[in-house]
Subunit: 134 residues, 2 copies
Amino acid sequence: VELNMNLKHLLQVGAAVLTLSMTGVAVAQQPRVSVVRIAELEIDPARMDSYNVAVNEEMEASIRLEPGVMAIYAVAEKDHPNKLWFFEMYADEAAYDAHRNSPHFRKYFDTTKDMITGRRLIETVPVQLNAKPQ
Amino acid sequence: VELNMNLKHLLQVGAAVLTLSMTGVAVAQQPRVSVVRIAELEIDPARMDSYNVAVNEEMEASIRLEPGVMAIYAVAEKDHPNKLWFFEMYADEAAYDAHRNSPHFRKYFDTTKDMITGRRLIETVPVQLNAKPQ
């Protein structure tokens, strides 16, 4: 299984497409992302500051320490700053499972569970993921 | 206004943070993104293939031709493949407005409007945008 996973990763990286247009501007297809999770969270308005400290720490650690966590984007609704949306990109299901069991995620989960007043998780699969090359 | 916009961009690029951890792995903060839009779309199941052709062309053109369109991610709900979510990152409001008025977006809009059976647009502001350096 371990070998298969590595082989799968290699193939995914190899399949990442970098297109050069006639204007010479590159369009990158996001490589190595087969699992995307969207989460909609409502935070107790009185606990927003504490929540933000905890989630920022958890997001930073996830990207830095976990090879299969490719991106975590957190945004707030313009008209409801305590309604947060997360768009999370993982290499594969194994990376997602490892993330949910990581020490930094468990710490975040325990710290924030009483601050979160509503939660919805949407499981998705990529259709097309296009970004400017960084 | 043009000069101010360029200055704002320069400052945003300058403020982009690249953190080197103790493990030597870099964490990139997404630079130059101040506007994020989430769209939830329901597509007529019988028109999915035609819709995908049109939206893929529009996404590719947007990233390639528009300097202020930083990323467009399209995903489908695992259990409802005709329910699509879009997570779109723009440099600023002007870039978002320019995108909505671009020829490729107008073409996509006209081509797909009868294929879309439900639509919700959520205006958001970034809280934290973390990604692996590409």
